[in-house]
Amino acid sequence: MTLEWIGDAILILVVLPVVVYLLRGVLNAANGIVPSVEQIATAATAGSKDLDATALLLTTQDQVQKTIEVAADYGGSLDVILDDAR
């Protein structure tokens, strides 16, 4: 009978606090991750939206190529028209 009471005491005074402590630690850790993950998700979404303009790089590439071609044409003509430096 005494051993049963001792077991009850250990169960209530030792096992239960330990279980509560450990589970509470896991819960606090999980709750601590949530805001960080939310910030990551927000940043990733915003970064993805910021990169929507990357499609315009194709237009920039085309425009740069045309500009250089026009400059090359003018340069070729100027090379013929103008005298070289002495």
Binding site: M1, E4, W5, G7, D8, L11, I12, V15, L16, V19, V20, L23, R24, V26, L27, A30, N31, I33, V34, V37, E38, I40, A41, A43, A44, T45, A46, G47, S48, L51, D52, T54, A55, L57, L58, T60, Q61, V64, Q65, T67, I68, A71, A72, G75, L78, D79, V80, I81, L82, D83, D84, A85, R86
Partner: protein, 231 residues
């Protein structure tokens, strides 16, 4: 049932309740984490997909711009010369001459001349280019002075026709002055000379045939000579 057994059952029940409560709260937190991670993964995938062609596109743009820089630098140095090219860049962007041209390392050691020297040479170059330039104002209706072979020769077309044939020697310009070999006397009226010009030392070729009131009438004498010849 002994009291100790009841207490044990209650203790186990408390432990189970605690475990259930905290595990449920942990599950809820993990579910929120999973949802946010899904959003983050979606965003990251979007970033990866959208940034995938950036490397190729930017590389292509840089390649084209490099070619443009090579072209313009080479053309500027070829046509203006290193010193004038550096001076022109310095005139347009003060302080830029110190950095020099990318493809011409010697340009960093080149002293930039005053921009006025470059401007003068540039003005002359523009003058050779077209009728818009003041030097071409003499032939505003003619073709533009653009000679694809050698631009500066186009200015030759502004001169009289005989110069187009590139003669070895041109007639010398008349010498004027009191000691010139041919002396001209001022006339009283346009087209009428007091006497024909004579070379210095040759003496007069003819005397005035008649004077009326002290004024030589060469035109009248010419008509009379012509009349006598007819006889």
């Amino acid at each position: 049932m002994p009291a100790a057994g009841i207490v044990m059952i209650v203790a186990v029940a408390l432990i189970i309740l605690a475990v259930v409560y905290y595990l449920m709260m942990t599950i809820v937190a993990l579910i929120r984490i999973r949802d946010n991670l899904d959003k983050a993964i979606t965003g990251v995938v979007g970033i990866i997909e959208k940034s995938a062609p950036v490397d190729d596109v930017v590389t292509s743009i840089n390649t084209n711009l490099d070619a443009g820089v090579d072209l313009l630098e080479g053309l500027l140095v070829k046509k203006a010369g290193m010193e004038d090219a550096v001076g022109l860049v310095e005139g347009l962007y003060p302080g830029a001459a110190g950095e020099g041209f990318r493809n011409f390392p010697e340009s960093k050691e080149t002293t930039a001349p005053r921009i006025g020297e470059v401007y003068t040479k540039g003005t002359l170059t523009l003058a050779r280019l077209g009728r818009e330039a003041p030097i071409a104002a003499a032939s505003p209706n003619g073709p533009a002075l653009r000679n694809p072979t050698y631009g500066s020769l186009a200015a030759r077309s502004l001169y009289p026709e005989i110069r187009q044939t590139r003669p070895n020697s041109m007639p010398r310009s008349p010498i004027i002055g009191t000691d010139s070999p041919v002396q001209y006397e001022p006339s009283d009226s346009p087209g009428v000379r007091k006497r024909m010009p004579v070379t210095v030392g040759a003496g007069p070729t003819s005397q005035p045939e008649e004077t009326e009131g002290g004024v030589v009438k060469s035109g009248l004498a010419f008509l009379r000579r012509l009349k006598n010849d007819d006889r």
